[in-house]
């Protein structure tokens, strides 16, 4: 080029796409839309409120099988997983419905980093809030004494911590699952229908249509594996906790991988 070019007013050479920049950008996107903030807050508030009610009321957790499970205070977490899956879906599909995705992909045209940063930010936020929630509910459990098996037990006791960590990490898992589903179909209604139709109701519906030999397939679907993980070895399951974790990771990797591949190859 022969024409003299003035240096950009934005100056120094550090102006370029970086992983840290993409993470900050996704954090800004998450915190700057009220509906996303609200969904995130309500997901945790609902779990906290319901759990607190059960712990203060004491009836449900104090007798029956739950009484023997030290981490029974995490019983309501699947509700949070559900809500955070919807949040994950909205975080992605909101970009498509509003058209922001074009601005995002023009800013970071290789696309992969945007998806990874989005997943990392939502996973980080939900893990942090999940940890706070679990600690708070543990303290409340000790105060109210609603779970007899937890009496006098430290949060770091192996009998306690395994179940608490498992239940807590399922919260960000739900959010990531939602991101993968959202990126897969790029439309909120379709992604949520897919989630409830296939993953939530599927285990009840599929056996009707499948030949007898294949009905065992539903054990390998995410919700069955989540139940095994939440039991932390105390409940009977079709397979152990290790296998269940592998099943969950395989689902996340498969859905995430397909979503990523489609994101790379499709026109925006």
């Amino acid at each position: 080029m022969t024409t003299a070019v003035t240096p950009p007013a934005t100056g120094p050479g550090h102006v370029r796409i970086t992983a840290a920049g993409l993470l900050r950008s996704e954090w800004t996107k998450l915190r700057s839309v009220r509906s996303l903030r609200l969904t995130l807050a309500l997901s945790f508030a609902a779990v906290a409120a319901l759990s607190a009610y059960l712990l203060i009321d004491g009836e449900t957790l104090g007798d029956g099988a739950a009484a023997d499970v030290p981490f029974a205070f995490t019983a309501v977490y699947p509700l949070g997983v559900l809500a955070l899956t919807v949040l994950g879906v909205l975080v992605v599909t909101g970009e498509y419905s509003s058209g922001t995705v074009r601005a995002s992909m023009i800013a970071a045209p290789r696309r992969t980093g945007v998806l990874l940063a989005k997943a990392a930010v939502l996973a980080g936020v939900t893990t942090a809030l999940g940890a706070l929630l679990s600690v708070a509910l543990y303290v409340l459990t000790r105060i109210t004494g609603a779970v007899p098996a937890a009496a006098g037990m430290s949060l770091f006791d192996p009998a306690m911590s395994g179940g608490v960590v498992a239940a807590t990490l399922l919260l960000p898992y739900g959010a990531l699952f939602g991101i993968a589903l959202g990126a897969l179909v790029r439309n909120a209604a379709a992604a949520i229908t897919l989630y409830f139709g296939v993953f939530q109701l599927g285990p009840q519906i599929f056996p009707v249509f499948l030949p007898d030999g294949l009905t065992g397939f539903t054990h390998w679907m995410p919700f069955a594996a989540m139940d095994v993980v939440r039991g932390a070895g105390l409940a009977d399951g079709p397979y152990g906790v290790g296998t269940a974790v592998a099943v969950l990771l395989a689902w996340a990797a498969a859905l995430g991988g397909v979503s990523w591949w489609l994101l790379k190859t499709r026109d925006i």
Partner: protein, 305 residues
């Protein structure tokens, strides 16, 4: 500098862009013209990697946009003013874009003030008028202070003040040696600010060059001369490269001689002139002629295919 080489894009069996090659040089404003469905937006989408070309390539400063480590410093694109989450403020929308490149927050405020959105920076973008959304889109394009500014229909929804402001901004940008590539349907607007033109129709290149080159390729400039001694002047102007048409007893249409030359020749022969007017078709007329055979949905023959 933008270079397209044999760029082709097919959606199924529909060809949006076919074997398109052109160059957009720095330091000038280049207009990108074509009827609806000609492939302008598809070309721009391929420029920034939103669409993958079926074959061929389009590069910025010699590199594919997707290969750049800092794409926002090379290209600023306004492609779709409404590409903003309705619930997000203008400031946060730009901040999220700026952060990907580690562009300082101060630059966000700078471009918001530059496009006149400073006072509404923290209002939800969903409440913006088309003109305000357009300004926000232009602000996003300017964020990285790019070497190449690409605007698709930028004057849509802008009020007259906004159009004037944009015209100055683009002229200033080109004057600083930057590349400005501008698609618009408004010929009169383009003829005011464009130096070069790229004209496409049905995804193919129809014309490329400076505005006057493109116009004169359609209809050469001519001069209307009114004189009481028309036959005598016509005889005096006869030359190999000159075409003189007698329009009526006193009026000549001369191609191949400038008004200045005709005036001198007439003066030397002491032929009085009543009128001496250079005639040039407008950009709009030239565009209509160039695209006449290429308008996608125009002729029944095309529709039947």
């Amino acid at each position: 500098m933008i270079v397209a080489q044999h760029l082709t894009k097919r959606y199924g069996d529909r060809t949006a862009v076919e074997d398109l090659s052109f160059t957009v040089r720095p330091g000038v404003v280049t207009g990108f013209l074509g009827p609806n469905g000609a492939g302008k937006s598809t070309t721009l989408r391929m420029l920034v990697g939103l669409d993958h070309p079926t074959s061929g390539r389009i590069t910025v400063d010699g590199r594919r946009y997707t290969d750049l480590p800092d794409p926002m410093r090379h290209v600023g694109l306004l492609i779709d003013a409404k590409a903003v989450h309705r619930g997000r403020s203008a400031h946060d929308h730009l901040l999220a874009l700026a952060q990907t490149h580690n562009i300082p927050t101060a630059r966000v405020r700078e471009v918001l003030d530059l496009v006149g959105l400073g006072p509404v920076a923290h209002k939800r973008a969903g409440g913006f008028s088309l003109g305000m959304a357009q300004r926000l889109g232009i602000a996003a394009a300017l964020l990285g202070d790019p070497q190449v500014l690409v605007l698709d229909e930028p004057v849509n929804g802008l009020d007259p003040d906004g159009v004037l402001w944009l015209r100055r901004l683009l002229a200033g940008y080109a004057a600083r040696g930057r590349t400005v590539f501008l698609s618009s349907h408004l010929m009169s607007e383009l003829s005011l600010i464009a130096d070069d033109l790229v004209v496409i129709g049905q995804g193919r290149l129809l014309a490329e060059g400076t505005v006057s080159d493109v116009i004169s390729s359609v209809a050469p400039e001519s001069v209307r001369v009114v004189t009481p001694e028309a036959p005598a002047l016509a005889a005096a102007l006869q030359a190999a490269d000159t075409t003189v048409t007698l329009e009526d007893a006193e009026t000549l249409d001369v191609q191949g001689r400038s008004a200045r030359e005709i005036g001198q020749i007439a003066s030397a022969r002491r032929i009085p002139l009543y009128e001496l007017t250079p005639r040039r078709i407008t950009l709009e007329e030239a565009f209509m002629q160039i695209t006449r055979n290429a308008v996608e949905y125009a002729t029944p023959g095309e529709a039947l295919r």
